[in-house]
């Protein structure tokens, strides 16, 4: 294991141990412990939901809904399992339900820019920022479950099995979806320059 991977794994373990301890206290009626969890995961859950709906206000509302639901159903959380995964599962369900009703209402998901080829110069900060923005926009244009898998796996560091569990897929199906997502992103962001 490389130093970076080892550090990430150690950090993830510490993070999870901390979250499980807080979740156990929240289950025992300590609301301040749940406040800690909301502060710690709030922004990350918000980002995950923003990717899905593409609106800041709606993503904030959905984040609140996800935490309210998690707080209400905290009794169902099995303390032997990962709290992070459980929370993301709750948030993902909230997000996908919102997306379904958004589509029923006929509201398109708004995106600021269309995907285009990415800049190559890694040393140039502005070019890197531009590249990050384009990749982020392209990820948001993937189909919802595919996009969530990419976000969970790459941004949040979930393993493919964990990400599959959160979005309600088998591990094999998640691998295929991630393969398709990478292919799609490559075609959008690299091929135009590469050909």
């Amino acid at each position: 294991m490389t130093d970076v991977a080892e550090h990430t794994a150690t950090h993830a373990w510490h993070d999870e141990a901390w979250a499980q301890e807080r979740a156990a206290r929240a289950q025992a009626g300590d609301a301040a412990a749940f406040g800690d969890l909301a502060r710690h995961y709030g922004r990350r859950i918000y980002t995950h939901l923003f990717r899905l709906v593409g609106h800041r206000e709606e993503a904030e509302d959905l984040t609140q809904e996800a935490f309210i639901r998690a707080f209400r159903f905290l009794g169902r959380y099995d303390a032997k399992r990962s709290f992070r995964n459980w929370l993301y599962t709750v948030a993902t369900n909230v997000g996908l339900n919102a997306l379904r009703s958004q589509r029923r209402r006929g509201q398109p998901v708004s995106l600021d820019t269309a995907p285009g080829p990415i800049a190559l110069d890694e040393r140039d900060t502005a070019a890197r920022r531009e590249q990050a923005a384009r990749v982020k926009d392209a990820v948001q244009q993937l189909p919802p479950r595919m996009m969530q898998l990419v976000d969970l796996h790459y941004r949040e560091g979930f393993s493919i099995r964990e990400a599959a569990e959160v979005v309600g897929m088998s591990e094999g199906a998640a691998k295929v979806a991630l393969h398709r997502a990478r292919k799609q992103l490559r075609e959008w962001l690299v091929e135009e320059q590469g050909q």
């Binding site: 510490h14 901390w18 502060r39 918000y46 993503a59 209400r72 990415i118 982020k136 560091g157 393969h179």
Partner: protein, 202 residues
């Protein structure tokens, strides 16, 4: 570019694409053409840049005081559920008062106590000596006599107990409500000091 070079590029790019799509690295089985073709090297760099950008997907910036608003929303939802508890307690109170009013408590209790005090337990457990049976009967009679003399449920006693229980429940609820109104979901002291782990993605 000659047709041979063109073929080398096609094969190399096909290889690079399949490696990228599968999420693999570009080390093992790397085509020799890559070492001599600057176009294919540039293509590889673009794929690596995309891989790197995926690993560094940025967090979104929510509105101002997002965490505070989030905690307040969760606290509000908790308050609503407390009102539900209070409503259930009130319904239970009404049911208890109705029970105290309609049920023939005195007569029922008297009938139970009469049958209990006239009953004589005669255990026939194997190996139990006669003084053991007498001892059990003595304890039974003492217990029923104590229960009969100490308390008999009446309408007033049932109501008093119900009102006491509801007052207790309401005061506990009010205490929690006051606590919630003063930032019940605020970060716990341990978290504020050093218990809160660093958020890996900033």
């Amino acid at each position: 570019m000659t047709s041979m070079d063109r073929n080398g590029c096609d094969e190399t790019r096909q290889w690079l694409r399949s490696r990228f799509d599968a999420g693999g690295d570009f080390g093992a089985g790397r085509p020799a053409h890559l070492d001599v073709c600057s176009d294919c090297q540039a293509y590889l760099e673009r794929l690596r840049a995309l891989d790197g950008a995926l690993m560094r997907l940025p967090e979104e910036e929510p509105g101002v005081a997002f965490e505070e608003r989030l905690c307040a929303a969760v606290a509000r939802s908790q308050t609503v559920s407390r009102w539900k508890v209070l409503a259930a307690a009130c319904a239970a109170c009404v049911a208890a008062v109705a029970a105290g009013w309609f049920l023939p408590l005195d007569a029922t209790w008297r009938a139970w106590m009469d049958s209990a005090s006239s009953y004589v337990p005669r255990p026939d457990w194997q190996g139990l000596p006669s003084y053991g049976v007498e001892e059990i009967q003595r304890v039974w009679h003492a217990a029923t006599a104590l229960l009969e003399s100490s308390w008999a449920p009446s309408r007033a006693s049932v109501w008093s107990l119900t009102i006491a229980a509801v007052l207790l429940l309401a005061s506990v609820n009010a205490f929690q409500f006051m606590k919630g109104a003063h930032g019940q979901l605020s970060a716990s002291p341990a978290a504020s000091r050093n218990g809160m782990p660093h958020n890996g993605t900033t």
